[in-house]
């Protein structure tokens, strides 16, 4: 049964999430250097009593397994500790930055799908055509190109040279957008603020495209090769022999089967999306989670790094869970 299969996948991913949390915890604690020393390093002279107080406040005086247990129970409750630098709960900091990151990630995913699907399908249908050769050469360049460099090139061309699009940030300074969900596109739509909408969309184009392009390249290649395979299959001949028009043969009979391997790859690409997120947010000064983590690393703000890495990893696990479920729906052979 499908429901049981899905439940099974959900159950399997729970211990993985705990494992992820344990690895992140261990990394932090097994790193040379005492967290309190690091904290104090910027605070100036502090008395031994105060250090003790801090140690017990952060549970650093307890044995490692107790610390781990406290960390895990807190994490389940949504408490990821305090930022050393900003002295605020890590969860709050992450929550504040998350909408910007999600907005960017979804835009990138949208770009990736919009670019890769037509290219992948048409390249397979017209195999060895000019379109196929050019787009596959492009896709090959795409997978060989580092995202940060592509971002810089795009900024140079479209922002610096042509002035079509903004260089950095999420929205123009003068766009007066009332606070809301934190998703600027959504907020400006809800408040009917046209200027803010256009501004935030314009700001999304370059970083979204840069982040999505690499994924689009991989997806287009995978989709093309699986389409080539399904287009050669017997059921495609059957569909034609039924009198199916060619678009129906391609988009229904062949594509529906080619989606099965493609969806697996989409799941893996979510990892690229999340990792690339840190890079692209840095390139475009995008005020999201990734840029915050990079800044936190240089400030040696370990709880913040630890919490954010965990959020990334768990997002990845959840994304793969969704992909697994999708896969179960797409592939009827799984269901039994």
């Amino acid at each position: 049964m499908k429901a049981i299969k899905i439940l099974e996948r959900v159950l399997v991913s729970i211990p993985i999430m705990f494992g992820v949390a344990i690895i992140v915890f261990l990394f932090m604690r097994l790193t040379p250097g005492d967290p309190v020393d690091i904290m104090m390093g910027r605070g100036g002279a502090v008395s031994a009593g105060e250090i003790e107080k801090l140690r017990s406040e952060f549970n650093l005086d307890k044995p490692l397994h107790v610390q781990l247990w406290l960390f895990l129970t807190d994490a389940v409750k949504g408490d990821l500790g305090y930022s050393y630098v900003q002295k605020t709960p890590v969860t709050d900091l992450i929550r504040e930055r998350l909408p910007a990151t999600i907005e960017l990630a979804l835009t990138a995913l949208l770009f990736a799908l919009i670019i890769s699907f037509p290219i992948g399908i048409l390249s397979a249908v017209w195999q060895n055509s000019l379109l196929d050769r050019f787009s596959m050469a492009g896709a090959f360049m795409g997978i060989s190109m580092p995202g940060f460099w592509m971002g810089i090139i795009l900024i140079l061309v479209f922002a610096v040279k042509l002035h079509w699009l903004p260089v950095q940030g999420r929205i123009d300074f003068d766009a007066q957008l009332a606070a809301g969900t934190g998703f600027f596109v959504l907020d400006s739509l809800l408040s009917g603020n046209r200027a803010a909408l256009i501004s935030s969309l314009k700001h999304l184009v370059l970083p979204g495209f840069t982040l999505g392009a690499g994924i689009a390249a991989i997806l287009a290649r995978v989709l093309r090769s699986s389409m080539l395979e399904t287009l050669r299959s017997d059921y495609v001949v059957l569909a034609r022999s039924k009198g199916s028009p060619e678009w129906n043969v391609v988009l229904k009979h062949a594509l529906r089967n080619a989606l099965i391997p493609t969806v697996t790859v989409i799941g893996l690409q979510v990892g690229v999306l999340l990792g690339g997120n840190m890079i692209i947010e840095t390139v475009f000064s995008w005020p999201g989670l990734g840029r915050m983590v990079v800044a936190a690393i240089f400030q040696r703000d370990f709880p913040l790094v630890q919490g954010s890495v965990m959020v990334y990893a768990i997002t990845f696990v959840l994304a793969n869970l969704i992909v697994d479920i999708l896969y179960t729906y797409l592939n009827p052979k799984i269901a039994l």
């Binding site: 999430m17 610096v160 090769s225 890079i279 690393i297």
Partner: protein
Amino acid sequence: METTPPTVQPTNRLIHLWSIRLKLWLRDTKEFLRELILHPTALIGGIIVILYILAALFAPQITSYDPTKGNLRDRLKPPAFIEGGMKEYPLGTDAQGRDLLTRIIYGARISLIVGVVSVGISVLIGSILGALSGFYRGKLDAIISRFADLLMAFPFLIFAIGVMAFIGSGVTNLIAALIFKGWVEFFRVVRGEMMSEKTEEYVEAAKVTGRGNLAIIVREIFPNIVQSIFVLATLRIGEMIIMEASLSFLGLGIPPHIPAWGSMVASGRDFMLVAWWVSTIPGIALMILVLSINLFAEGLRDILDPRLKTIA
């Protein structure tokens, strides 16, 4: 092939046996090289990669500049082929007046070392653990596989960034961070192949003739999977090089005093409006190298293991 007369001494026979093996190996290698040369993209990719390797090896002989010391009077000079450029600096200079070409050549060293070493050790660790896991199964397999599953739950770049955040930047640290997750893929491939090859008839036959397990793994099974691993490893070198550059771009990979393409791109960002070449040219060097490695890898795949085509 002529037959050995029965009177030959045992040592002679051994030498004879090995000479036959050598001949066969040479013949296979020659055949492989011939196919490689006939494969247009693999040939181009291979040649460019070799040029990079040569440039990296002989960097001090190729260029007379010091990659770390610049001449501040010549800062931000454009490349020679555009207006204002100087012949002395064919690709221009950076903000500290250092010759870009020199730094790019030295940067190739870091990229190639990180890519090859991290993939090489990943392959080694992954193959050994994968072979043991897949062949013996049992508790060891269960533990390693669970650990591998856990590592799979992290996106690669996030994992590397996280590790670098805690252990700090540096070439060795960076390689260690990349290996820490890089072995998993090879482990899974080798383990899977091991499990499926184990049931094949030739392994059964080897068992019957009384070969030890280690001999079966190394002499019988490995030759059958070594080609796919080789192709996969080549593809991963390019990815690792991009990974290294990305980390260096963020300032988390190679420390600033060593020339690396990623940090060169990052340092050029501040001068993008006045000196576009500082950040774009190192990126072009990087892209050409990765592109060539990938072209070469695809060629290898076509020749050695066409079955892999669907994977990546």
